[in-house]
Symmetry: C2
Subunit: 115 residues, 2 copies
């Protein structure tokens, strides 16, 4: 399956391989970024950046159905990127921790700092 070129990479590959995390770790890392890689979810997380919001407020803000928002909130919650609390019939969501904020801010800066 792999390449069939005639180069000799044994030295280089040995070095690089030694510094690579496990496949499992790298898959987890990809899965984490995958969650940030959807504009609906990004918008939800941005909405929650400053304060908590209930589901219907988010769906109103984004102009999307309550169902679509609930599905994405579930994805975010399963990934522990948001948490929630119930108050009567209403459920309020908030960002899980400051780490989420810093990841958003990081990509934000990257986009802004492009020539």
């Amino acid at each position: 399956m792999a390449s069939e070129c005639k180069h000799d990479h044994t030295e280089l590959l040995g070095r690089v391989k030694g510094e690579m995390p496990t496949d499992e770790f790298l898959s987890d890392l990809a899965d984490l970024y995958k969650i940030f890689g959807d504009s609906t979810r990004i918008k939800i997380m941005f909405s929650l950046y400053e304060e908590e919001m209930c589901v219907c407020a988010i769906s109103e803000l984004l102009g999307m159905t309550q169902s679509a928002i609930s599905h994405q909130l579930k994805v975010l919650k399963d990934a522990k990127l948001v948490s929630n609390r119930r108050e009567g019939k209403t459920i309020y969501y908030r960002l899980a921790d400051d780490h989420v904020k810093s990841i958003i801010a990081q990509g934000f800066d990257h986009l802004l700092e492009e020539d």
Copy 2:
């Protein structure tokens, strides 16, 4: 299309809306993270973390076909996350800048710091 709940969110929505970037910006942000959200691409970027590598070395390292690697390198290059140089028949790829490293490192830390 939007929610039809009876809550009054006008005040909240006004506040949050004022701090939200444009849809276009948030889509670009999602697109950026989408690129990090694939384990093959993450592995490629990690491979290039310390030093440049040619295509066949990467495909040998990851145990994947040259074609698959080339396709993903194109995605990474279009997003300006990697750049390359030619040396005879061989083409060497490297990370475009330190921003890519810091984004990777950020997610890395997030995974490591979980309970």
